[in-house]
Every structure is written in C-alpha cells, then in structure tokens.
C-alpha cells in the first residue's frame, strides 16, 4: 500500500466537505478559503481549489457575487446556498458515521 497515496485520497475525499464547513461559518473570498485550507494542510497548491469551487457552484451548493477590492482585481465572494446547507447537514451525518466506525475499529 502506498501510504502517501492513501493519505492524499483521504484528503481529496474531505476537501468538498471542508469547503462547505468553512463557508457555513461565514461567507468568504477564495483567497480566505485557500488560506484556511493551507493552514489546515488540506491542500498543497492553491490551484486545486478553483475547480472545486466552480463545481460546487455549478451543483448549486455555493453562490458568489463579485466584489470590488481595494487590494487588486475584483473578487468572488462565496457563500453557502440553502442546498449547500442541506448537503452539509448530510455530510455532517456521514462524517459522524465514519468517525464512529473508525473509533470503534481503533478500540
């Protein structure tokens, strides 16, 4: 088993859930989300985030509006939609299940 591959697979699976979690707390710019995910060591390169945000938006879980910025070009300000909240609730549940399972197996 390639341990690094297994680790990165785990992170990949979590990425969308983490984005929804971050945006649940408050709406944010892509750069803020990147910052938090880098801190949490969920991603290594920033570019990973953009295809995901676009996909989540296309699926209706996120929405954004353009905001003028005093620090550079206009930026997209992302927030969770009601569908996104719904999806997050489901993901929360399945996370509970996963962590229960893992904890159970650890004993």
């Amino acid at each position: 088993m390639d341990i690094n591959n297994a680790k990165s697979q785990m992170r990949k699976g979590m990425l969308e859930y983490c984005i929804l979690l971050l945006l649940k707390r408050r709406a944010a710019y892509a750069s803020d989300i990147i910052q938090r995910l880098l801190e949490a060591e969920m991603i290594v390169v920033e570019g990973t985030l953009y295809p995901l945000l676009t996909r989540l938006k296309k699926d209706g879980l996120l929405a954004y509006e353009w905001q003028e910025s005093t620090q550079g070009p206009p930026r997209k300000y992302y927030r969770l939609t009601p569908e996104g909240e719904e999806a997050l609730a489901q993901l929360n549940e399945s996370w509970q299940e996963i962590s229960r399972t893992v904890n159970f197996l650890k004993q």
Partner: protein, 272 residues
C-alpha cells in the same frame, strides 16, 4: 539589463521583464489548455488569472518594482501546475475520454469520411513504418497548428510518421511542386488543410502520437507541453520557406492564369 514589458491585468498595469512575461503567458496558456477539457473550465482558468493578479498586487504593495522571473516562479509554485492540481483535486479527468469522443463526433460527415480515408491510408503507411519502430498503436492524423507555415499539414505528417523535424517533408513538398508543375500537390495540400482536424487540445496531440487518452497521459502531455513552451524554438527556416512558397505561387499564377485567360478569351469570342 533586461527588456521590460507593460501588461494590463484586470485594469492594473504591471511592469514585467520579458522572460518573466513569457513564463507567465505560457503558464496561463497551459492552465487554459488544461482546464479547457473540463466543464466550466474557462471560468476556472479565469479564476486562476485573477489569483495571479491578486498575488502580483500584494507583492507590489510590499514594494516590488517590476515583476521578474523569480516572482513568476514563486507564483506558479503557489498556485501549482496542471499536474499538481490534477493530482490533488481527484475526481476530474474522468470525463476526458467522453469529451474526446464528442470532439470527434462534432465534425460534419464529409470531414469525418475524409479523415477516415486519410487515417486508413496513413495506417497502411504508418504500420509498415511503425513495425521497425515498435509502435503498435495506430496514430491519428492531425494538423500541427503549433508548428505551422500555412496550415500545419506537413508538420502533422511529420508527427504522424514520427519524424522529429518537419523540414524534410516541407522541402520535399516544395521541390516536388516545382519539379511536377501541374500536378495537384498544392490542391492536395489545401484539401488536407480544409478536411483534416487541427490538433488543438492535449487529447488531440496524444492521439496524434498514438498514445492512449487517459487522465495520466493528458497530465503528462500538458506538463511536457508547458516545459516545451519554455524552450526557445528555431524559427529561422520558416521565413525562407514562406518566401519560397510565395515565389512558387506567383510562378504558378503566371503560368496558369495567362493561358487560362487566353482560352477563355477564345471561347467568349467563339460564343459571341
């Protein structure tokens, strides 16, 4: 001393060294190419361009004067190249085979028929050639629009027969045209130009090389292309060839248009 260029990124002007500019342009192009095979890929490429602008802005606020190649390298490392992004973000790339199929299906039937004819003919020639080179998979003919003089037909043929440099084919074509004046080589060229597809996406270029279209290969291909794009290319012989083609064209025009007009003149006199 370095040449400096001024660029406009979303309404802000930046001074950027020429080498840094080339690197940045290649990077953004490779991102566009990479994401072009995904749905809403344009938007993602645009997001990345915005991010580049944002990172440049921050560096300027911090006192950066002109953008140099080191800065661009840092920014590319931060955002990541196509391979890193594909490696990290999982569930994409699986649609690539389907989009390739779509692209093949979108041409009109005349084009497809001719393409098939060209491919069948090429397969025959290609197989004999490939046997010696251990190539099992059949290549597909595409015009090489990245390395073209007129329509990339010759460089496409070079790629098809796995010849590194299209120059011999080009020269051969031109010499044959001169020697066999009246034979329809230029017409064949134009027909090929109109009827065969151009290799526009990394998938096309994989099929052109007879490699399988898989997410891994596409990633590899995009990486190779972005590296290749950073290297200077020899363009000197192109100017000479273009001049030669123009001369041939003029000679052809003089040789054919004159007699044609004369014949038409005789006909019109006979009719009226």
């Amino acid at each position: 001393m370095k040449k400096n260029i001024s660029i406009n990124l979303f309404g802000t002007l930046y001074n950027i060294d020429e080498d840094a500019y080339n690197m940045l342009e290649n990077y953004l192009d490779s991102m566009k190419r990479y994401f072009s095979r995904q749905e809403s890929g344009e938007e993602v490429a645009d997001d990345i361009e915005h991010r580049v602008a944002e990172l440049l802005w921050r560096r300027r606020e911090a006192g950066m004067n002109a953008v140099n190649i080191e800065t661009v390298r840092e920014i590319i490392d931060t955002i990541g190249n196509a391979e890193q992004i594909a490696g990290e973000s999982g569930s994409e790339g699986n649609s690539s085979a389907a989009t390739g199929q779509q692209a093949m299906g979108s041409g009109d039937s005349f084009r497809e028929d001719l393409n098939q004819f060209v491919n069948e003919a090429g397969k025959f020639a290609g197989n004999t050639y490939d046997r010696g080179c251990n190539y099992v998979r059949s290549r597909k003919y595409y015009r090489c629009v990245d390395d073209k003089i007129l329509g990339g037909v010759c460089s496409g043929a070079a790629a098809y027969f796995n010849i590194a440099d299209p120059l011999p084919i080009r020269l051969g074509g031109i010499v044959a045209t001169i020697l066999l004046i009246g034979l329809p080589l230029p017409i064949i060229y134009i027909v090929m130009w109109l009827a065969t597809p151009a290799a526009l996406t990394p998938e096309d270029r994989l099929r052109q090389q007879g490699r399988e279209v898989t997410p891994e290969n596409i990633t590899l291909q995009v990486k190779e292309e972005s590296q290749k794009a950073l290297m200077p290319r020899g363009e000197t012989h192109k100017g000479c060839l273009i001049a030669l083609i123009i001369v041939i064209f003029i000679v052809f025009a003089l040789l054919f248009v004159g007699p044609l007009m004369a014949i038409l003149g005789i006909f019109s006199r006979m009719l009226f």
